[in-house]
Symmetry: C2
Subunit: 209 residues, 2 copies
DNA sequence: GTCTATAAATGGATAGAC
DNA sequence: GTCTATCCATTTATAGAC
């Protein structure tokens, strides 16, 4: 009855604590304390801490899947890319504990490793598709090798931008996300046709101020 | 007498174990076991695990300082950049445990946070200087905003490339470093004059094969 | 300098009562 | 479903003998 509710509360609370304190610094006891339930109760709902992480990952996976859904039939413009980046970065932000300790978390769990690899693959496909669209629209110009490299750079940047912001000591969450988007766009800028390049520079300037 | 030697052995062994197993998974007992000394002995030489990490960080800091030393008086060519990237990536590789759990490690220690911020600052200055050199030599062409963004992207890429390689499951160490260098170079490629762009593509092709 | 022994604290996890 | 009680393993760190 209240089972589903407790389970969800545990997941919500774990996510919040993982995100703010870092997953390695949050124990099952901390979570139980925060929720004012007993450790035994927590272990009634989840086999162990890794089980909680897997469930959170499933949520994350589904959400990222949406964000990476292929854009509509028409060729994408710069604003479409902006929107999609926003969805992706917001998702990463909401599950940033995964990214904060990505290597460590994935090294402990083979399943998550496989699933995260799939996400990266989808993101890579998506980046390629979008850039091909830009090329077809005559907005972008790049060799195949440059396009591959740019796609990879977009992935690395998106994956680790929030960590970089954290290391720099950036405090403002919204600013960090905005900066990340701008940073990715600037990755594509030099490949754009002059008119679009100017357009983008205006967009980013407006965004920054 | 053998004091200095034991101290160094502890540092060397810690570094090796941190790098291969991840710092969070290596305890002071593990290190003592591996060296076949007692935990008490280890604590005679170091106050705690964090002390060991700080000493290793000092080594890393000095080495990265060398790698980021301003290039010679003459304007740098693409090959000079290649070399410098190689030095930086080798340094990061040798102390990759720091980068694997960067946010976590820095969050635990204010001093390291400050020192790492200084390294990032130096790297940013260096990237700007190199790119200004390329611009002055007429090899590169970019607006001030594009140059700033490119410098930041170089930093993020260099900082987290090995993590990205690890997450992808890349096994070959040398290949990961090589790919990282190529990836950073490809970041600059689109800003290069056509002749240099072709030159770079030839360099990277030769490098990849 | 190095060892043995051990304290003190923590984290993960389970049994059994309610 | 939830709690109390508890166990076991691990980790950090120190005291004192050699």
């Amino acid at each position: 009855m209240a089972a589903r509710q407790t389970r969800q509360r545990i997941l919500d609370c774990s996510l919040a604590m993982f995100n703010t304190q870092g997953e390695p610094n949050v124990t099952t006891n901390h979570i139980a304390d925060e929720l004012e339930i007993s450790p035994g109760n927590l272990y009634y709902h989840f086999r162990n801490k890794d089980d909680i992480i897997e469930q959170l990952f499933a949520r994350f996976d589904a959400r990222m899947d949406d964000a990476l859904a292929a854009p509509g039939g028409r060729l994408p413009g710069l604003e479409d890319i902006w929107l999609q980046l926003h969805l992706a970065f917001e998702c990463i932000w909401d599950y940033r504990f995964l990214y904060r300790d990505l290597v460590e978390i994935l090294s402990r769990n083979r399943r998550l490793r496989v699933r995260f690899a799939r996400i990266l693959k989808r993101a890579d496909d998506n980046a390629h598709q979008v850039m091909r669209g830009l090329s077809q629209a005559g907005v972008m110009r790049a060799s195949a090798a440059e396009l591959d490299a740019a796609a990879t750079n977009v992935l690395v940047l998106a994956t680790f931008w929030l960590n970089y912001a954290a290391v720099r000591g950036d405090k403002d969450e919204n600013a960090a996300i905005r900066d990340g988007i701008v940073q990715v766009m600037m990755l594509l800028a030099p490949f754009l046709r002059d008119a679009e390049r100017v357009h983008l520079n205006k967009l980013t300037q407006a965004y920054i101020d």
